[in-house]
Subunit: 322 residues, 2 copies
């Protein structure tokens, strides 16, 4: 068992991240605050160049490579945002990127990866199948496989959590969507290291609860996975992020896909930002937890905004019918 | 005739602006670039706390007040974004704000102004009627009326143009939506002072062409006004911004409301950002000017994102039918 990532790792990663990116805003929304009954802030990771927080991790990982690793190129599997992050970071560092995506992956995310110069290969029905396959390809070609929870990624991702604490030092609660877990782990490490009283709460869809069930039970358990929100669609839990979550996380709630869809529309209305499912899940969770959050300062991590127009159109129509 | 604002005024305004705001991103979008046939960048003023660029100006204006002016409070008229900017700046400085809006003003913008603590009063059918009325109220109550093109506002607004040039020093063309003209004037002053070769192009809706016709003819001419895009809906042109535009602006194009609606959907699809009509008009203009822009580095100012969900829903449905 290796040591867990620390606040120091995150602070060291900042220099690299800020070579390429600026801090994202943490905005206070009065009308959203009325709705939740708390002082609500949104951390706008959807404002990142590839529309999601993961780019922070990719840049730190790419900067950490040896010349040999650079020459071999990066290989990964992704449902979209992690792949875009690796593609973006690889291009910034002049490295080749090869990304396996499951059949039926979000077409906008695939187009974006290709436009960033990555080779994108469709393989298998879900993330885990694509991942196993591309790991073999990487080994055959002498390249480096990057998993979505590699520790160096967590170091980079933690920089958004530091920004939250700098902009709102007296934040009471941070709610983070959980896919593979890099965001929630990075946030927990940073928040708890600076002030153990800050509560960090994870959220996942009830239609893909593997990470939540694993955390609750303390065992690695797979689960059904049929959420529309690919950013939090995890079938097989990740061991290293579960370990960190076991130590640091305060709570982990499930919300229904229907609540996430509604939160996407609410966020569009009150913040004029487009959130993807993962990015809207924290608001759905906050509405669940109204009693506990009453009057507190709550930061919701809008982890990404890469929702297809087609899906948005459907959600807007569904909301109308309710 | 007073002197025109200068680059020096804008540089002096930065210190004030950055007390409250961070620079907004200028993102490059590969898929959007393919569509336009140029290297397309978006300046994301829709990422500002009140969802529009104007907040930069409001903050500088509020900081410039004497104690007497602060005590008397700020009065203005607005279709939305200017009012939100004044409300935000007034709250940041502990000043009372009273804002007249025309009947039928964007409800989201009105709610946001009220949530920021401003008193909002509906009066008259359009901006100009509301403006004349609130000017009288301000005089009666001993308060200060702030017009949407006051020079101090232009100083603050210019900070976004400086950011464009810092992030992309070799930008060839900047396309800016024109309402009252503070954005396009500030951009022209900054761009031309730094590099006269940079082309600055204004855009307005063909359904509200008063500013464009005035610029073309060199005379102040009013015009019809029935665009859906309230941010660029000007019926009576503004003298002081026309004077600046007459000196600095390279071109000023009109696009149809239908093209702006289409651009909103295209931007949502390719950037996952919600633009209001004004914020999408520069993309509509770029698609008009494809031949002239071919291969150039083009910055499109997404001036704001405050579009109602209701309007977006309609535009998405209209696009589907085409």
């Amino acid at each position: 068992m290796t040591d867990l990532p620390t606040l120091h790792d995150v602070i060291a990663a900042r220099k690299i991240v800020y070579r390429y990116l600026r801090p994202t805003p943490l905005h206070h929304y009065p009308t959203l605050s009325e709705l939740v009954g708390a002082e609500v802030y949104i951390k706008h990771e959807n404002h990142q160049p590839v529309g999601a927080f993961k780019v922070r991790g990719g840049l730190v990982l790419a900067a950490s490579l040896t010349p040999e690793q650079r020459a071999g190129g990066l290989f990964t599997a992704s449902t979209g945002n992690h792949g875009q992050s690796i593609a973006y970071a690889a291009r910034a560092h002049g490295i080749r990127a090869t990304i396996a995506v499951p059949e039926g992956a979000n077409p906008g995310k695939v187009a974006a990866m290709r436009a960033l110069g990555a080779e994108v290969i469709f393989h298998g029905d879900d993330f885990d199948t694509a991942r196993e396959w591309i790991m073999e390809i990487a080994a055959q070609r002498g390249g480096m496989f990057v998993g979505p929870t590699d520790e160096v990624l967590i170091h980079g991702v933690g920089t958004y959590a530091l920004e939250i604490l700098e902009d709102l030092p007296d934040v009471d609660v941070i709610i983070v969507p959980v896919g593979a877990g890099s965001g929630v782990c990075a946030t927990s490490i940073v928040a708890k290291s600076i002030n153990p009283d800050i509560k960090v709460i994870g959220v996942q869809s009830a239609q893909a609860p593997a990470m939540q069930r694993s955390w609750k039970s303390g065992k690695l358990v797979s689960a059904e996975m049929h959420t529309f929100a690919e950013g939090i669609a995890t079938r097989v839990p990740f061991e290293n992020t579960q370990r960190i979550m076991g130590r640091y996380l305060d709570d982990f709630v499930l919300v229904d896909d229907s609540e996430i869809k509604k939160a996407i529309v609410t966020l569009l209305e009150h913040t004029h930002n487009l959130a993807e499912g993962a990015g809207a899940a924290p608001l759905a969770a906050a509405l669940h937890l109204k009693k506990r959050l009453a009057g507190r300062k709550v930061a919701l991590v809008m982890s990404g905004g890469n929702l297809s127009v087609e899906k948005l159109k459907n959600f807007l129509q569904e909301e109308q019918q309710i």
